[in-house]
Structures are given as structure tokens and as C-alpha cells.
């Protein structure tokens, strides 16, 4: 099939960007979306021009490096599918596809479709961990964890940190990402001891990074390639409320 691509091109963070049009010819339906872009880039390079910059690494939906807003929807709008797992059989011959980067103040554009998501790392650094050093830990079976808790924790821990939840949100809120990490750890007895500190510090950092507020529209859950549930946001709000009621505050 042949496609027309409208791709956001932006030289660097301070440059102004523009949509450029490219023809993608002889696209096969077995190609992944990123392989289609690889082929377009091969063409661009052969013409001596600057290829389209985009992030990807594992190309099997787990590393979270790929992004792309495709026709207005982060990762292209197929349930439980990251951009790298999206295949061209879902598109029709002659179609025009618009491709944009994640757009959020907290994710500045590096070049074209690649953005800087270091804000997510800083939120984890603020409290997304259990404070244990290497060594001296008790036997793994010393503390039983109910299967329900372990499973619910795993549901939250499946987050790949791609940022689609922020990209789709009209407020660029990071609540789904942050609540997934808070819930992963707060649902386990291992995370219990610093439950309050964790949620307070992570939320404080989230606000400092310039992410917006949550108005519970649920668009984040809909585009999440790992189908992380909106209910984790409720869980985080509860943990946050309880920690505040206890009169605790975020550590400086």
C-alpha cells in the first residue's frame, strides 16, 4: 500500500516545528509501524536529507522507549499496544497518517518525535523505591504476601514508563504513571514502612515537574499499552489523603 505521512519535524528544543509531508510507498502489511518509518528514513537518507528522529529500542512493547502520537492518539489507539507493536495491516491504502511527538510541558522535545522524559525518572528518584541496601535482607519466604496483593501489585508494576498517559491527557497529568508506582510498592508489605513518605514525596516531585491535575476522564487508561487501571489513581489519592491526615509532610 501507499501512504502519505504528515510528520512533525523540529530541529531541537528551541526551534519551532512544522509538519512535513512524506510519501511512504510499497508499505507491506506485515511491517511494524516503526519498520515503515525505517523504510521512509532509508529513502530520506538516500536523498541526502536528515532522517526523522524517533525513539525505540526493544521493539517488543516492554522497554517503553517508543512513543509517537499517531492520528491524534498516543501509540495509535489499539488496545494494549505500544507503537512498536502496531502493524501496518491496520491501515488502508491511500491513507494519510499524522505523526507527532508526545506533547507536554514536562516532556520537552529533543528533536522531531523524540522527547525528554527525565521528569519520570526524577519522580522515581523522589520515592519510587523501597529503602533497602544490598545484603542483609530476610529470607524471601519469611514474609508471606497474599496472592491477591501480589497480583494487584504486579498489575501496577507492569507500567513501562512510556508517558502515553501524559501525552493523551488534556492536562498533561502524570497521575496514572505515579499511581502505578505508588500502588506497586504500597500494596506490598515490603513497601509498608515508608508508604506515607513515598506517596508524599512522589506527588510533590510530580507537581514540581509541571504535570497537570487529574480530572478523571480516563483517557490515560484507554491508551496505556499495559492497560494500567484508573483505579490505581483512586488508591494513590487515598494513600495521599491518609498520609496528610497523619500530619506527615514530604521530606525536603
Amino acid at each position: 500500500m501507499n501512504l502519505t505521512l504528515k510528520v512533525w519535524r523540529q530541529k531541537h528544543v528551541h526551534a519551532s516545528g512544522v509538519f512535513e509531508t512524506y510519501e511512504a510507498k510499497n508499505v507491506l502489511e506485515d511491517m511494524s509501524f516503526l519498520e515503515m518509518l525505517d523504510v521512509v528514513n532509508e529513502d530520506i537518507i538516500a536523498r541526502g536529507q536528515d532522517p526523522i528522529a524517533f525513539d525505540s529500542d526493544c521493539r517488543e512493547g516492554i522497554c517503553g522507549m517508543c512513543s509517537l502520537v499517531i492520528n491524534g492518539i498516543p501509540h495509535g489507539g489499539h488496545r494494549g499496544t505500544a507503537t512498536c507493536q502496531l502493524h501496518m495491516r491496520h491501515f488502508k491504502d491511500g491513507e494519510t497518517i499524522t505523526i507527532e511527538p508526545w506533547r507536554a510541558r514536562a516532556f520537552p522535545i529533543i528533536k522531531d518525535l523524540a522527547t525528554n522524559r527525565a521528569a519520570f525518572d526524577r519522580i522515581i528518584q523522589a520515592g519510587g523505591f523501597v529503602s533497602v541496601n544490598t545484603g542483609g535482607t530476610p529470607d524471601a519466604n519469611a514474609l508471606p504476601v497474599s496472592k491477591e496483593s501480589a497480583d494487584a501489585s504486579m498489575d501496577a508494576a507492569a507500567c513501562i514508563g512510556c508517558g502515553a498517559c501524559v501525552a493523551v491527557c488534556k492536562n498533561a497529568s502524570a497521575m496514572l504513571f505515579v499511581s502505578a508506582k505508588v500502588s506497586h510498592l504500597n500494596l506490598l508489605p515490603q513497601g509498608e514502612a515508608e508508604k506515607d513518605r513515598r506517596v508524599l514525596n512522589m506527588v510533590r516531585q510530580m507537581d514540581e515537574e509541571g504535570f497537570g491535575s487529574c480530572t478523571v476522564t480516563g483517557s490515560c487508561e484507554a491508551v496505556c499499552p499495559k492497560e494500567i487501571s484508573l483505579s490505581f489513581i483512586a488508591k494513590m489519592n487515598r494513600d495521599y489523603g491518609l498520609a496528610t491526615l497523619k500530619g506527615k509532610s514530604a521530606a525536603a
Binding site: H12, L28, E29, D30, M31, S32, E35, D38, V39, E42, I45, G48, D50, P51, A53, D55, D57, C58, R59, E60, I62, C63, M65, T81, Q85, H87, R89, I110, A114, N116, R117, A118, F120, D121, I124, Q125, G128, F129, V130, S131, T134, G135, T137, P138, D139, A140, N141, L143, P144, V145, S146, K147, A150, S153, M154, A157, A158, I160, H184, Q190
Partner: protein, 638 residues
């Protein structure tokens, strides 16, 4: 050069304890005086960075991805082995040790493997304490499953995302240290060379991938945890960014490279669909528990729909050749059998490079619901990629490069032949011999980073007593200049061919001549063609853009330039090893039944290659493998 593995004396089971006592220590207050550079943030790199920072060392950690959480350890599906014996089925440290040595076809170092089995139990404790959500029983305790090459259930797992969860555990520990200011993290930064001062590794030169800035970082020791070289084959299950650059450039600075010919091919990957293919996707081996592998008996039937090929015209070749293991024959053996079937013209799917993995019998026996319960996520993944419903038509699978057992030669302390340069995880060669067992890669990465390096690196500092290096010294300036010249040279060629086209051609060549099966003539041909291709690369590659910007094409070109050189060492090693063992199958050396034939009299050694300069043949050094504890036997799966 004389290789000394520094294996401690004494009985095998006591070596590590004895060694830990003999190692010199650094006083807690003095640790902050030592700077350590860690390259790579996967399981080995992140676990080492956090553990060393917790001890008080000053750590800088570098990764080429946008965040340390993205390293390719994240893609591991199956699980992690540990000799916990929670299943009460007869497991022990000794059994895990023995299974690993045997699985490696008796080409690994005994003392290292024993230590790996010993610390495996600590890894699980550590990960659980970090909040890794391993699978559990209703009673609240951890559950285990069995995996290839073992007769006990010792594999811990977190759904099909064990690598992800273990990496996130290590990433969180690392993040905590970054937040505390004890680790300086440099994402989107690629190591382009090693700096050696006075014979010791004292720093690295890196390129900031966003700005293109080339800069030096000095330290008292350098740790490489940069993964394997599977992408030399172009197509592999590795992430797109995986590369050999750091260990290759260390090799050119004196760090010997060992056993590059030991590469692992995984039998159950989704076949190539066309020239555009950028990577291959692995599907868990567990599918072979219920799927039956077959191809048509006659070539003419290959294009027909499966429904038109009656039972008597199908060749269930694994069941036929290996009646006792059947479809569960080990990875290397199953992969070669699939290749033979396709080489005989009976492969299925586009290009004839595929075999069927058929669930029709399992669905008949168990019902579709049961099959769905066991494998739904894998069937979904298959459908996403191929558009086919494997409940109705058989899957098509083909082997693909998955892991590399070879790597930088290290001694028992994980130190390379360049003092002060340590190498961990898949990047080193030490623990898996000629073949790695399933669920052992995660174990090794974390063992090296959490529980081995933190002990051994202190001994280096306490005994080497080297002067503090300066990143502005002449040695660093010289290497920076070399890196700039290399980068500028790539950008100045402006030839006619893309980097991808060179990489694809190299990969095809290496796959054909040094893939699942190798022979003297093929390897010799590859060794002629690789230098010619490399020469063309340096004359005709088109690297667009400039250095001073975010330039993915330039990053890629540098990595492919190194693969062009590395491929030659890979084939040289494969040519010299005139035996078959594990992942290295030489067609000349097989039993009358077509099984791998080892030659313990002549090849029971690790082959460590020393760089002798451009255009010079590398020099082979042999580290004899001495088995004090186990008896070398022949693997049989008939």
C-alpha cells in the same frame, strides 16, 4: 601475556568464602575517595551502581537509552533460577552448579559457576525485599516453575515479565542513590573509548547523544555492563540499540575477548516477514510443552494450506529424531533440526524459513479454553505481529540469535586483562560456557552486580594504589582526539549506501556462515568477505547530519563500524575451534547421528584473543579449564 584467573585454592564449596576473607578491604570512611564509572544500566550495571554507592563509593553511571529503566534486561520473559529448594524437590547449590556446567557443555570455569549458584539464593531475598512482585501461592509463599535443562523447579517468575520486574527493582535501587546524590546518572550518553593510564583503566570518553559533545570522565576503576553482541547478526531478539562498542573498544585497548563463537540461537521466534524486518521477537519456550513441531514430508506440499496436508504427509521431525525428549529437546538441538528441515527445502511461510508449531492436538486433548489459559498472552502477541490466529492455524516459528555467551575475558574477580577494568553480566564470558540455560542470564547479571563486584573491586583499590587520574591529562586529550577523528571520518564519507544496508549485509553473511552451523570453507569465505565489506563501508557509507546535534544515524554508524571489525574475530574464533560444543556447531565435528562432538583433549580451554593492532591477526591465549569437581560427560537427549 599469561592469563591468570586468580581462582582461589581450596575445596570448591569454600573458595568464595575463603576469597572474601582474603580480599583486602577499604575502610568505610575511605570509600568516598574512590570514583567508579559504570557503563550500562541493565541488571548488572544498575545493581552494581546502587550496591557500590550504598557502600560509599562515588559512582557515575552511563547509558545510551533515555532512562536507565530501558536496558534490554527488561525484555527477559521466563524467569530467574535460584537454588532455594522451596519446592522440596531435591535442588541444592551443587545441583544448580552442576546443571549450569553441564548445560554449558563443560566449557565454563568451575569456580565461577559454583559461586553463581551460591549467591543465587541471596538474589531472590534481595529482590523480594525491594518489592519485586514474584508469583505466589495462595498461602503467600513464592512459587516456582521448571525450565529447560533442569529436572527441578527452581525458576522464580513475575508473569511473563520477570526481566522487567527485576530490572525495575535494580532501577529503583539505583534511583534511590541518584536521589541521594551518591550516583551521577548520564542517560543518552554513549561510551566511545576507554582511557588507559599507566596500564590501568582510568576513565572513558563519551558522546552526549543529545548535543554531540565529546567529553572525558576519569575514575579509579571502570566497569562495563553493556550486554552482548547478538546484533552483529543484524536480526536478533536484542533491542535495536544493543551493540558491541564498549567491549570492542576495550579489546582494542588491551582487554582480551574470549569465546566470541559461543552464540545462542533460540528455537521459538517469529519468522522474518521481509527485507524491512528490523528485529525478531522471541516467544517463550514454554509453548513447546504443548505445541508439536513439523514440516511437510514433501517439498511440493510447502505452499499448501495446512488443512490439505494429511497427517501421514507431515514430518514431526523432533519427535522422530529425539523420541525421548521430542518437542522439548534443548535449544541448540531444536534450532539445528529446524534449520536442517528448511535447508532440505521443506520450510514453510515466506522465504521458506519457518516450521510449524501446531496446537491442534493440544486443543483437541485439552480444549481451547485450557490452551488459552496457558498461553493466551503468547497467542495474542503472535497475532499482533503476524495477523494470524494460532488457535485456528499453526504458528510458524524459526530460530533466532538470542544471547551471546562469549565476551570480555575476566578473572575470578570479574577483572579483565586491563587492571581496573571490570566487566559484568552478558558482556563478560565467565559463567555459561558454550551454552546458557534458560533463566540463568538474569541470575548472572544480578549476581555480578549485587554480590560479586562489591567485594572484589575494593581489593583492587587496596592493592593497586594508583594515582588519581585527571580528565584533563594528556592521555585523556589524546583519546578524545581519536574519538573526534573517528566521528568526523564517518561524517565526511557521504557515500551512496545507508548504514542499515551495510549492517544488513554483514548480518546476513555472518548468519549464513557463522550462525546455527559452521564449517571450514564457509568461515574462510566469511573471513575474506568481511574485510572487503568493511573497506566498502569506510568508502561508501552515507552518514547524514553533523556531530553537534541529536544524530541517530551517526550513533548507529559507529556501532556498525565496530560490528564490521568484531565479525572478523567472531569468525576467527569459530574457525579455530575445531570441535562442536553448545552453541558452536561445526559440521565437520558431529557424531554419526548428527550430534555435537566435543574434543576435550584439544579444546577444553577458554579462547582469549589479544588485539595486536590494525591489520594484524589477533593472538590466541588459552585458559585451560580444569575440572576438579565434575566429570566431563557427553550430553544426550535421545
Amino acid at each position: 601475556m599469561k592469563l591468570d584467573a586468580h581462582i582461589p585454592s581450596g575445596p570448591l564449596a569454600q573458595k568464595w568464602d575463603k576469597h572474601k576473607f582474603d580480599l583486602k578491604l577499604i575502610n568505610p570512611a575511605n570509600k568516598r575517595k574512590f570514583d567508579i564509572i559504570i557503563v550500562g544500566s541493565g541488571l548488572a550495571g544498575a545493581s552494581a551502581a546502587s550496591s557500590l554507592a550504598e557502600l560509599g563509593y562515588k559512582v557515575k553511571c552511563f547509558c545510551f537509552q533515555d532512562s536507565p529503566r530501558r536496558a534490554h534486561s527488561i525484555a527477559a520473559q521466563g524467569g530467574i533460577n535460584a537454588a532455594k529448594n522451596y519446592a522440596n524437590d531435591g535442588d541444592s547449590i551443587y545441583r544448580l552448579f552442576y546443571d549450569t556446567i553441564k548445560g554449558g557443555d563443560f566449557r565454563a570455569r568451575e569456580a565461577n559457576v559454583y559461586r553463581l549458584a551460591q549467591v543465587s539464593v541471596n538474589i531472590i531475598d534481595q529482590c523480594v525485599a525491594q518489592g519485586v512482585p514474584f508469583a505466589r501461592e495462595y498461602g503467600g509463599l513464592l512459587t516456582n516453575r521448571s525450565f529447560g535443562g533442569a529436572q527441578v523447579s527452581r525458576t522464580f517468575y513475575a508473569r511473563g515479565q520477570t526481566g522487567q520486574q527485576l530490572l525495575l527493582g535494580a532501577y529503583q535501587a539505583l534511583s534511590r542513590q541518584i536521589g541521594l546524590g551518591t550516583v551521577e546518572m548520564y542517560p543518552r550518553t554513549e561510551m566511545l573509548d576507554l582511557v588507559v593510564v599507566n596500564g590501568h583503566a582510568k576513565g572513558i570518553v563519551v558522546r552526549n547523544l543529545v548535543t554531540g559533545e565529546i567529553a572525558s570522565h576519569a575514575a579509579d576503576a571502570v566497569v562495563l555492563a553493556t550486554g552482548g553482541y547478538g546484533n552483529v547478526f543484524f536480526l536478533s531478539t536484542n533491542a535495536k540499540g544493543c551493540n558491541v562498542t564498549s567491549t570492542w573498544r576495550a579489546y582494542k585497548k588491551g582487554a582480551l575477548f574470549a569465546n566470541p563463537c559461543y552464540t545462542q540461537i533460540h528455537p521459538t521466534c517469529i519468522p522474518v516477514s521481509g527485507e524491512h524486518q528490523s528485529k525478531l521477537t522471541l516467544m517463550s519456550e514454554s509453548l513447546r510443552n504443548d505445541g508439536r513441531v513439523w514440516v511437510p514430508k514433501r517439498k511440493e506440499d510447502c505452499g499448501k494450506p495446512v488443512s490439505q496436508i494429511p497427517e501421514q504427509d507431515r514430518d514431526y521431525f523432533l519427535e522422530r529424531k529425539y523420541p525421548s525428549f521430542g518437542n522439548l529437546a534443548p535449544r541448540d538441538i531444536s534450532s539445528r533440526a529446524a534449520k536442517e528441515a528448511c535447508d532440505s527445502g521443506r520450510g514453510v511461510g515466506p522465504g521458506g524459513l519457518g516450521v510449524y508449531l501446531d496446537f491442534a492436538d493440544a486443543i483437541k486433548r485439552l480444549g481451547e479454553a485450557k490452551v488459552r489459559e496457558r498461553y493466551a498472552n503468547l497467542f495474542d502477541m503472535y497475532e499482533k505481529i503476524t495477523g494470524e490466529n494460532a488457535y485456528q492455524v499453526p504458528m510458524r516459528i524459526y530460530p533466532a540469535v538470542h544471547y551471546t555467551m562469549g565476551g570480555t575475558w575476566v578473572d575470578y574477580n570479574l577483572m579483565s586483562t586491563v587492571p581496573g577494568l571490570f566487566v559484568l553480566g552478558e558482556a563478560n564470558f565467565s559463567d555459561h560456557g558454550a551454552n546458557r540455560l534458560g533463566a540463568s542470564a538474569l541470575m548472572q547479571g544480578l549476581a555480578d552486580g549485587y554480590f560479586v563486584l562489591p567485594y572484589t573491586i575494593g581489593n583492587y583499590f587496596a592493592t593497586a594504589k594508583q594515582a588519581k587520574p585527571s580528565a584533563t591529562s594528556a592521555e585523556f586529550k589524546k583519546v578524545e582526539e581519536d574519538v573526534r577523528n573517528f566521528t568526523n571520518k564517518l561524517l565526511s564519507i557521504k557515500g551512496k549506501r545507508t548504514v542499515t544496508s551495510f549492517h544488513r549485509e554483514l548480518g546476513k553473511l555472518v548468519w549464513e556462515k557463522c550462525g546455527m552451523a559452521r564449517n571450514d570453507a564457509g568461515l574462510k569465505e566469511a573471513l575474506k568477505r568481511i574485510p572487503a565489506l568493511r573497506e566498502e563501508f569506510w568508502k561508501n557509507v552515507n552518514v547524514t547530519g553533523e556531530n553537534g546535534e541529536f544524530n541517530q544515524n551517526l550513533e548507529y554508524a559507529g556501532r556498525v563500524a565496530d560490528f564490521m571489525e568484531f565479525a572478523e574475530l567472531l569468525c576467527t574464533d569459530a574457525l579455530h575451534r575445531r570441535e562442536s560444543c553448545g552453541g558452536h556447531f561445526r559440521e565437520e565435528f558431529q557424531t554419526p547421528e548428527g550430534e555435537a562432538q566435543r574434543d576435550d583433549d584439544n579444546f577444553a580451554y577458554a579462547a582469549a584473543w589479544e588485539y595486536k593492532g590494525p591489520g594484524q591477526a589477533p593472538e590466541l591465549h588459552k585458559e585451560p579449564l580444569v575440572y576438579e569437581e565434575v566429570h566431563m560427560s557427553t550430553r544426550s537427549y535421545k
